[in-house]
């Protein structure tokens, strides 16, 4: 599913709500049958760790940590997802290879990779342990047009293989064709910002 919206339209806030990092003041957030707004904060964090893989626009990774540690980080907080992933290191390496990252990359500090490579590592991190939902916040905006296409192709391929749903936020309408559903944020949300 693609969520389209201009900047300032509340996309990021909506993502924070969906991921359960921020609790809604009013209204409810449901994942399937689960109302995460009703959960305690700790349970929401656990829920996010188990069920959601997150990809940011950029600066996805802890730059000082090795690629492998970055990929395995979400498993640290999600025992069930860790169990699903099987051998974490092997799985991480498999994902790296599938995403076209060079073989020896897993022990380099993430900060030394190119932006394109970092985004792919972020995909690997989001996909490890096959969480049901992948949330991607404009993951291609930091990439140039050619890399964007390859990146999206790889992303779709891996998401399909993991049987995860992909919720992607973008302002780029051309991406619409690739998704099953496209929602314009102005159709579902009215954003009011209080004057500072």
């Amino acid at each position: 599913m693609l969520l389209l919206g201009a900047s300032g339209s509340g996309k990021s806030t909506l993502l924070s709500l969906i991921c359960g990092i921020v609790a809604a003041d009013q209204g409810k957030v449901h994942h399937g049958d689960v109302d995460i707004g009703a959960m305690r904060a700790g349970a929401r964090d656990r829920f996010r760790a188990e069920r959601i893989g997150v990809i940011f626009q950029q600066f996805n990774l802890l730059p000082y940590a090795r690629v492998i540690d970055n990929i395995l980080l979400p498993l640290r907080f999600a025992p069930e997802r860790r169990a699903r992933a099987g051998n974490g290191t092997t799985e991480a390496k498999r994902l790296c290879a599938a995403l076209g990252l060079p073989a020896g990359v897993s022990h380099t500090p993430a900060g030394q990779l190119s932006v394109g490579q970092q985004q792919r590592v972020a995909v690997a991190r989001a996909l490890i342990g096959s969480p049901p939902l992948i949330v991607a916040d404009e993951p291609t905006s930091a990439l140039d047009a050619a890399t964007q296409d390859t990146f999206l192709a790889l992303l779709f391929e891996q998401v399909t293989e993991a049987h995860s749903s992909l919720l992607m936020v973008s302002h780029d309408e051309r991406l619409g064709d690739r998704f099953d559903r496209v929602i314009r944020i102005e159709d579902v949300v009215s954003t009011v910002r209080e004057a500072a």
């Binding site: 990021s12 806030t13 993502l15 924070s16 991921c19 990092i21 921020v22 904060a41 700790g42 964090d45 656990r46 996010r48 760790a49 188990e50 997150v54 940011f56 600066f59 996805n60 990774l61 802890l62 730059p63 000082y64 940590a65 090795r66 540690d69 395995l72 980080l73 979400p74 640290r76 907080f77 999600a78 500090p109 900060g111 991190r125 916040d137």
Partner: protein, 416 residues
């Protein structure tokens, strides 16, 4: 893994973290160094005199007697007469007794009249005896043996003449009877280093023509005649006593203190040293307080460093949160960081301390006569290190709480 990531995060900020670690290391080294010097000084102080069971002098206070007889500070109120001295010396409990006579000076140093017994029985730092480095002991009437500091400060070597002044700060010299430096005692770190030692008879000899502290006008007895005279002193300032059996110390002390012919005082040097240290000890407490403040300052610096790093690390916190880390993990991460920094600082401080000790020990011993032991860290020192890490954890808690609140407010998307 979290630990590895925390270490990685610190490594990534090697410069600022390094400076903070260094600051903590220096402060810890300073604190432990002060502790070392303090215990070293206390031990050196307590080691000033050993092997002597009692010090006897005219009745005054025990600290006062200790000060003038051992440390050559201040003056005796009165002398001990020869009769009393002989009465004590003839007691069956007494193994040896060494008389000392004070009152004259050479330049800024005290002159002490004594007997060969002083060299035989004076002990310091456990069971060390005085050693004459160059020259020989007291042989001639006008021989003087000087301490290492006297020799160093005045540039004396064996054979040089010494003129003793009457009293402690007077302009009247015993110029008619010059002494000769016969020997120089190796450095001991005790007041002996600052003492000119002559024989008891010599003290008597230079005062032949003196009466009541003034020179008798016009009278100059030739040295040849003095050498023929009976120079047995009529009184001494104090005496050091060793007993046959340590069990007899208190009996003899009581006997001396109750001596009917003359008001005398006998003290146990160890006890009096303790009393004196309690007076001097106030300064050491202040010193410990100051160095503890330095450690606290270094930890405050660390806190400021972590605080200022928070803003640039909001992104990092957001990643942790998005990965499912509870805010408590963020809190723990920052406290862990503070503890790692402090632990690194503490360990490095320890290393610095030992390096410093190894480097400075010979110099400190030579310059101050202070022997700093290099030994395995004491339990107390290990507790100090633990305390540093513990306080660091507390200091890290404040920025950690801020990060906790920031990460709650920021959510996943950092608006930067």
């Amino acid at each position: 893994m979290i630990l590895r990531l925390a270490v990685g995060s610190l490594m990534a900020r090697a410069l600022t973290v390094g400076m903070t670690v260094l600051a903590i290391a220096l402060s810890v080294a300073l604190f432990l160094g002060v502790e070392k010097v303090r215990t070293g000084a206390r031990a050196s102080f307590a080691d000033t005199i050993s092997g002597t069971d009692l010090i006897v002098g005219a009745r005054s206070g025990s600290v006062q007697l200790l000060l003038y007889s051992v440390f050559r500070i201040g003056n005796a109120t009165n002398n001990v007469t020869r009769e009393s001295y002989q009465d004590i010396a003839s007691r069956p409990e007494v193994n040896w007794i060494v008389p000392i006579s004070l009152g004259d000076s050479h330049r800024q140093f005290r002159v002490m009249g004594t007997t060969q017994g002083f060299f035989d029985h004076y002990r310091y730092r456990g069971d060390r005896a005085l050693e004459i480095g160059t020259g020989h002991g007291l042989e001639d009437l006008y021989d003087a043996v000087i301490g290492a500091e006297v020799a160093g400060a005045l540039g004396y070597s064996v054979g040089d003449p010494i003129v003793v002044s009457h009293g402690l700060a007077s302009f009247s010299d015993h110029g008619d009877q010059p002494f000769r430096v016969a020997g120089i005692v190796e450095r001991t770190g005790t007041p002996v280093d600052r003492t000119v030692i002559v024989s008891l008879e010599a003290i008597e000899a230079i005062h032949v023509d003196w009466k009541s502290g003034a020179k008798i006008p016009g009278r100059t007895t030739p040295v040849e005649r003095i050498r023929q005279m009976d120079l047995t002193p009529t009184g001494i300032t104090a005496a050091m006593v060793g007993v046959e059996n340590r069990l007899q110390i208190f009996g003899l002390q009581r006997w001396i203190n109750e001596y009917p012919e003359e008001p005398l005082l006998a003290i146990l040097p160890g006890v009096a040293l303790q009393e004196l240290w309690q007076i001097v000890g106030v300064a050491e407490t202040a010193l410990v307080g100051v160095s503890a403040m330095v450690v606290v300052t270094a930890l405050l610096g660390m806190m400021a460093m972590i605080f200022s790093s928070l803003n640039e690390r909001r992104r990092e916190m957001a990643i942790w949160r998005a990965m499912g880390a509870r805010p408590a993990v963020i809190l723990g991460l920052l406290v862990l960081e503070a503890m790692l920094i402090a632990a690194a600082g503490a360990v490095l401080g320890f290393v610095l301390l030992y390096l410093g000790l190894v480097a400075a020990r010979p110099w400190v011993d030579a310059a101050f006569g202070l022997w700093l032991p290099i030994e395995a860290p004491t339990v107390r020192e290990l507790w100090t290190l633990l305390a540093v890490v513990g306080v660091a954890a507390l200091a890290g808690l404040l920025p950690a709480l801020r990060a906790y609140r920031l990460s709650l407010a920021d959510g996943m998307m950092v608006r930067t």
